[in-house]
Structures are given as structure tokens and as C-alpha cells.
């Protein structure tokens, strides 16, 4: 995020694009409500009437898969109506002419057929956005989980650049991150192209610095593979071993059948986790680790804040903290590795990362949270980026970026007439091994989850509310339960991804964004079928669920 979560409250306009705060981040949703109470305006772009849409001034019910077309139309209006900040654009950006060349072809009237949003609403949204003294864009997976995703992120940044909404408090753009430490895992170099602190593996000076610190002659310069490429790399015979740490790809990745084939195709699968999960069933070796609450360290918030988390209870069983397991593995592989505690690890990393150098354990203890960049020991941290409107490029200017809209890959047809989009729900989390083992949270929702479907579609396909049904795509078929929901749009159905029986990722497809390689979880073609014998379906559900639970419990004894 360019700016901080608390700043959401003090902006003048919140512009929400493909982000459902109430279900994904309830605490961020409260900030939005408080901003509204303080008088902030709000515009929401979402195919569903989310809670944010419900309480907004203006809701633009975009058609699924039309993001780039709408963002281009927004830019078109800002320029055509002269709403943009000319002085800011001249001083702090570049690429305006090429930008206009593209977005000039996206008059909102011209793209109504693609976006589904009436042109006057598009114009009204941009008049509001441009008129706000400070405006904050929040976006989520409704942007990033498409085959065209990175382009849209750059397009949204372009709107903030056109209106000068960067470089001060209460503005900017914010992807509110999903997992608690997805920001941190990026921060510490668990990416195929960068070392910790976003230092590129392709830079010889960076490689030399890390090689020296780690006591090795050299480090690999070729960027590694991305996670979503794994299935086809196994198929091509390029990958032979998979060390999976605290993830459950056999539940959470797209097109589970291809994920299972990939796991089976590996010569060696190592799983390091806290629970038995679907992925672990494919492992050759399972290494049991301590969980949150049983160990300590640092997490990064979505707004770049380092915060210490601490141990509250003693672990039970013959289990070890993850970093100790890695040290044992490294040592056994001929590279003696030893740390006494997480602080030693943190200090080693800090010394190698100019962005984080000033964020010591002691200072985190004192300040509670330190937002990077924090380059030295008396630096207070950085609540918002791009102060002075200087951007991370050699000439310091922000790039205005636009490109043409690309439609989603798998469009609905006669055989598979509906679009499936995967979403979140408030009580459960990710692959659900943690929340599903919390009694209170488990009582909120259980297998097989729900299919959110519009009333008209439910009638068309003969589905009753709460009835079990089959849903299938070209890749798979699963059982789920209808939830007739007037907040969803006709022609699209929605499922959450943590269910074992109602596993929507059996249906999703591997089509990925060319840059981020994130799959198009928000769009694939499906069909639904009512089940006449509901008593049989309920029994089948119960038996299958019990069978799966037994299968996973067995190895642990």
C-alpha cells in the first residue's frame, strides 16, 4: 500500500475497486465506516452489491472481467473533461501522450457494452474522484485475480497520478493484502527474482553482497520459477522436488486436478506444516512445525508495518520452529547453519537490507509498529510512500500507463452458461486448517460451503435456497449449497475457496496474468444442476466429509 490503513479514515473520498472489505478485512471495513461518519464520499466498483457498495454514494455494478475497459474509461473522462491535475502531470509524470492515445478510444459511452456501467455513472464517479481534495483507492482480488491484472493495477495508479493523489497522507492506492504475512514474505525475498529487501538477483553487486554475507562463492543469477508455473514444469520434466512450507496448494491453487498431477509427478515432496492437509497426503515426508502462538518473530502488515508477534503457549508434541527445521536441513546438506533465536536472524537480514536497517527488535518493541522504508536507527518509519512526489524510477517520475482491454479467457457458452468467481467469507480463512479447527468459527459455516446465486438464475435452473446442487466446469464437478442472494448479479455465481467437498478450485482454470502469473480465479465458465433427491445428497455430503476427515486423521494416529 502506498499509504497506511489508519489514513483511510481521514481521506475525503474512498474509491473501492474489486475489494470486499466487510468479508475480507472487517477491521479495514470499520475504518471505511468511520471515514463515512466523518463525511468522506465513497464510490464502489463491484459486480456484487457488497456492504461497501450498499453504504456508498455511488455504486458502479461492473460486468465481471471488464476492469481494464472501465479503468481506461475513467482516465478518458478525467482527461476529456479537463478534470485532471495538469500541473502535477507535467511535473511528476511521463508518458501522457501515449496514455491519451490509448484511453481516448475508451469513451464511457463507447464501452458501455463491455463494462455494463452506464456512461453517466462513469463520468459522475470521476467528477467526484477529481473533486475530492484527498482520495484513497482501495483494491483487492477483484483486480488481481484476472488474466489481465497487472495492467489494471497500473491503470488505477494512473488515476491517482492524473489527480495528484500521491505523496501525502490520506491518498494513494492500497491493495489490502490477503494473508497476514503475504507482505512480509515478499519483504524477505521469498520471490524468484529478488533477495530480501527487493534487491534483484540479476544485479551482480547485490549477489556479491549476499554471497559474502552467507559465506558462499556465488549465488544463482537466473530468476527462478513462479508458483503457478509448477504444474506444467513438472509435466515438462523440469521440476523433480517440491519443498512446501505452510501452504496447501491442493486446496488453494487453481485447477486442483492439475495440481494433484504435479504433486504426483514430483520425485520428492516435502511438506512442512502444522496440520495434516490435502497437500500433505501427497508428501513423502511431513515435518511438523510450531504454530502461531507457539513461536515468535515479525510479521509485516499490508501497509508495510513490521510488528513483533510472541509466544503464548508451549508447543505440544515433537515439533520445532520452522527456522530451526531449515537450519537442520541446511546443516545436513553440508552448509552448517545455526541461529540462537529469531532476533539473530532478523539482525542478519537487517544488515543486508537498507530498506529495513533501522527496524530493530528493540525499536519495534518501543514503537509497536515500524513501516518500511526505515533506513537508519533513528528513522521513524514511513507511513506513506513517494514524499515530494518522487517515484522509484531513475528520473523520479511516475509512468502513466494504459493498454487495451483483454477479455477473460473462458467465456460462458451454451454448455457452461454461467461465470464462476471465487470470493471470501468472513468466518473462515484460506485453506481453513486453522479456522476450521476453531470451534466458534467452524459453527459459522461448514461443508460444503455456499454458491451465491441471483434469484432469477436460481429460478431458471430450478434451485431452491439451501438446497444441495452440482456445479461443474470443463475441469471438474463438486457438490455445493445454493444461497439465493439478491446482491449478486445475474449470470455470475460466487463460491468461497476453503471447502473440501465444495472445492471451487476443482473448477477454476490455470489461465494466468502474463506478468504476475496470478490465475484468473475470478472468471471461468460453469453450469449448475439441481439435485432432485436432497435426502440422498445430504447423506452423500456427510459420508464424503467424514471419509476425508478420517483419511487425514489416519497418518497422525
Amino acid at each position: 500500500m502506498s499509504n497506511s490503513i489508519p489514513e483511510i479514515e481521514d481521506t475525503d473520498l474512498i474509491f473501492v475497486f474489486g475489494y470486499n472489505a466487510a468479508d475480507s478485512h472487517p477491521i479495514v471495513a470499520r475504518r471505511i465506516v468511520r471515514a463515512r461518519e466523518k463525511g468522506a464520499k465513497m464510490v464502489v466498483v463491484d459486480p456484487r452489491k457488497t456492504e461497501s457498495a450498499r453504504v456508498s454514494d455511488l455504486w458502479l455494478p461492473i460486468r465481471n472481467g471488464a476492469n481494464m475497459a472501465l479503468v481506461n474509461a475513467f482516465a478518458h473522462v478525467l482527461i476529456e473533461e479537463g478534470l485532471y491535475n495538469r500541473e502535477y502531470v507535467e511535473s511528476h509524470t511521463e508518458g501522457f501522450d501515449a496514455y491519451w492515445e490509448t484511453v481516448s478510444r475508451y469513451a464511457p459511452e463507447e464501452v458501455e457494452d463491455i463494462t455494463g456501467v452506464p456512461a453517466d455513472q462513469v463520468r459522475q464517479a470521476m467528477r467526484m474522484y477529481a473533486a475530492a481534495p484527498n482520495a484513497f483507492i482501495l483494491y483487492g482480488m477483484g483486480v488481481t485475480q484476472y488474466g489481465q491484472a497487472v495492467d489494471v493495477v497500473k491503470g488505477l495508479s494512473g488515476l491517482a497520478l492524473l489527480t495528484g493523489n500521491f505523496g501525502r497522507p490520506n491518498v494513494g492506492i492500497g491493495p489490502v493484502r490477503g494473508q497476514n504475512n503475504v507482505q512480509g514474505t515478499c519483504d524477505v525475498g521469498v520471490l524468484p527474482n529478488v533477495f530480501p529487501g527487493y534487491q534483484p538477483v540479476s544485479d551482480p553487486a547485490v549477489r556479491e553482497k549476499f554471497a559474502k554475507a552467507w559465506g558462499v562463492d556465488s549465488l544463482p543469477e537466473k530468476p527462478g520459477y513462479m508458483l503457478t508455473e509448477v504444474p506444467h514444469l513438472v509435466h515438462e520434466g523440469k521440476l523433480k522436488a517440491y519443498y512446501i512450507f505452510g501452504e496447501d496448494p491442493a486446496q488453494t491453487d487453481a485447477d486442483l486436478n492439475s495440481v494433484r498431477e504435479a504433486l504426483k509427478g514430483m520425485e520428492l515432496v516435502i511438506v512442512q506444516d502444522i496440520f495434516m492437509n490435502k497437500t500433505a497426503m501427497f508428501a513423502d515426508i511431513i515435518l511438523p512445525a510450531t504454530a502461531w502462538g507457539e513461536h515468535e518473530g515479525v510479521y509485516s502488515t499490508a501497509d508495510r508495518g513490521f510488528q513483533r508477534f510472541r509466544k503464548a503457549v508451549e508447543p505440544k508434541g515433537d515439533i520445532k520452529p520452522d527456522w530451526e527445521i531449515f537450519c537442520l536441513m541446511a546443516t545436513a546438506m553440508g552448509y552448517p547453519m545455526h541461529y540462537s533465536n529469531t532476533k539473530e536472524i532478523w539482525d542478519e537480514m537487517r544488515a543486508l537490507c537498507p530498506l529495513y536497517f533501522g527496524a530493530t527488535y528493540e525499536r519495534m518493541e518501543e514503537l509497536g509498529s515500524i513501516q518500511w522504508p526505515c533506513p537508519d536507527l533513528d528513522h521513524p518509519g514511513t507511513p506513506y510512500l513517494y514524499a515530494g512526489n518522487t517515484f522509484n524510477r531513475p528520473n523520479g517520475k511516475g509512468v502513466l500507463f494504459a493498454t487495451d482491454w483483454r477479455p477473460p479467457l473462458e467465456r460462458p457458452d451454451e454448455e457452461y452458461p454461467l461465470v464462476l468467481s471465487t470470493v471470501r467469507e468472513v468466518g473462515h480463512y484460506s485453506c481453513r486448517t486453522m479456522t476450521g479447527n476453531c470451534t466458534t468459527l467452524q459453527s459459522l459455516a461448514d461443508e460444503p460451503g455456499f454458491l451465491q446465486i441471483n434469484r432469477a438464475d436460481a429460478r431458471k435452473y430450478g434451485l431452491k435456497d439451501k438446497a444441495l446442487l452440482w456445479i461443474s466446469s470443463r475441469r471438474g464437478k463438486v457438490l455445493t449449497r445454493a444461497q439465493i442472494n439478491d446482491r449478486t448479479n445475474q449470470g455470475t455465481v460466487y463460491m468461497t475457496y476453503q471447502w473440501w467437498i465444495g472445492a471451487c478450485n476443482e473448477l477454476t482454470l490455470e489461465h494466468v496474468d502474463p506478468i504476475s502469473k496470478t490465475p484468473e480465479f475470478k472468471y471461468c465458465a460453469v453450469k449448475v444442476e439441481a439435485i432432485a433427491d436432497q435426502a440422498w445428497a445430504e447423506r452423500y455430503l456427510e459420508e464424503e466429509y467424514a471419509k476425508l476427515r478420517r483419511k487425514l486423521a489416519e497418518p497422525v494416529g
Binding site: P192, F245, I274, A280, V298, M333, C438
Partner: protein
């Protein structure tokens, strides 16, 4: 005697701070703490998301010992850490020798383990195995 430990919620990226309250070494409840992002507030997951630590077995059991399967059609068996690490490291080195370091892929964890564990894992990938094949679920 109640004890309180200040920590950070392990669920979403909002990074809410909370206190875990323990009695006789077991957690009894969570309370919102004055963190920068949450200012004493918590959602349902923050308030109740610690219950899995009591190994409720509602869904799946906690792992308690290293488990090894000597062939894909045999059952998992409990083994010692020495045997587990010995097995995994030997197989990794064999594969590295036979197919090169880039035939090995690692994924980090964006969940409970934290920044230090992930730092050590990418060091294992780069300095020990010799590959940049390390990624995580930020991409999905």
C-alpha cells in the same frame, strides 16, 4: 493467575495487535490491543481464531511427529527428527546432483511462521541448494 502476551493476529494483512490471555499455560481468550492498525478492535477471527491451538480436531489433527512414507504406496510412519532430516536432505542432494539445483522448487509461507523463518528458507534455497526457485502464495 492470568497472563497476557501481546501478539499480532495471524489471519489477514490488517495486522491487528491482540493480547492472548492464558491461565495455567492454556489460552482462555483474546483481547484487542492498541495496535497501530486496529486500535483495540478485533473481528471474529481475531477474537476466536486461537482455538485451533487446543488441537480441537474439528477438522484435522495437529502434526506431532515427523512422518515418512518410504514409497508412494506405503503408509506414513512416525520417525525421529534425525531420520526425517537425513531422508529429506539426502533425497534433495541426490536430485540436485542428478538434475541440477533448478529442478528443486520451494514455496514459502505467508501465514503463521513469520519473516525470519521465510528469510531462512530463501537462504536455504539460494545459498545451499543454489536456486532462485522460491515463491509463495502472494501470486494466487
Amino acid at each position: 493467575m492470568e497472563k497476557k502476551v501481546r501478539t499480532v493476529c495471524p489471519y489477514c494483512g490488517a495486522g491487528c495487535q491482540l493480547d492472548l490471555v492464558t491461565v495455567n499455560g492454556a489460552i482462555v481468550r483474546a483481547e484487542g490491543a492498541p495496535g497501530r492498525t486496529n486500535e483495540n478492535e478485533l473481528c471474529l477471527k481475531g477474537l476466536y481464531g486461537w482455538e485451533f491451538l487446543n488441537d480441537t480436531k474439528r477438522l484435522s489433527p495437529r502434526l506431532k511427529k515427523p512422518l515418512l512414507r518410504r514409497s508412494r504406496d506405503s503408509q506414513f510412519e512416525e520417525v525421529s527428527w534425525d531420520e526425517a532430516i537425513g531422508f529429506a536432505s539426502r533425497r534433495l542432494m541426490d536430485i540436485k546432483r542428478k538434475h541440477g539445483p533448478d529442478s528443486i522448487m520451494l514455496t514459502g509461507s505467508a501465514r503463521g511462521p513469520g519473516n525470519e523463518a521465510n528469510y531462512v528458507m530463501q537462504k536455504l534455497a539460494r545459498a545451499v541448494i543454489g536456486t532462485n526457485n522460491i515463491d509463495h502464495c502472494a501470486r494466487i
